[in-house]
């Protein structure tokens, strides 16, 4: 399970949404897997159930999970949703590239930074 960073400034509900998207991308959660209940996750993270519910609503509207009253919330196995996530990730990434470019970072250095990051991961991460 993922962690929350309460002092990061990133809204809690966004962190929860991204947390489950990440677990899906990593293969930790697969289609059909059940998510914690709204109340259970709220208790675990010591946040308000409404906040978790909001996150689940966002995830369901995106097609990433589906919820059944009385049963629970489950990871969707719809590939369309995963593709939508990828597409939004592309758009978000391109915005970051443009912003970095505005701040004076050129394309070659960005590529170098990415490559460095991936190699350091291979070497000594966890």
């Amino acid at each position: 399970m993922f962690q929350l960073d309460f002092k990061s400034g990133v809204p809690i509900c966004d962190q929860i949404v991204n947390g489950f998207i990440k677990l899906k991308a990593l293969g930790v959660l697969k289609g059909g897997d059940q998510l914690p209940s709204v109340r259970a996750l709220a208790s675990k993270f010591s946040v308000n159930p409404n906040t978790v519910q909001k996150s689940y609503a966002i995830l369901e509207n995106s097609g990433i999970i589906y919820s059944v009253k009385g049963k629970g919330s489950f990871m969707s196995d719809d590939e369309t949703a995963a593709n939508a996530v990828l597409e939004s990730a592309r758009l978000e990434f391109m915005a970051a590239v443009r912003h970095a470019n505005d701040l004076g970072l050129d394309v070659d250095e960005m590529i170098n930074l990415i490559k460095q990051n991936s190699t350091t991961k291979e070497d000594g991460d966890k």
Copy 2:
């Protein structure tokens, strides 16, 4: 001069800060160039002078500009400040890379996206 996007959700003062950093990175403004006065820029953008003043204070604390009471605000020609901006841009960019990775975007695709973007810019942008 840059534009403000009031419906983007990005705080006005941040947009102003980034706007001047961009103008510096692009070489439009160089060390010693005078910035518009707080009141003039506020009037031009139809925002509150306090908002502009906040932006200028951020820029001055970062060493990107320097202000003299009664005279005005000017672009700094201190390379240290520019380097600090570049370094923060690197950190910010790496955070975006990690986030995109969390969402399932792999390193190769990010590099391809950057290269595509730079080539399309050469082709048909302004």
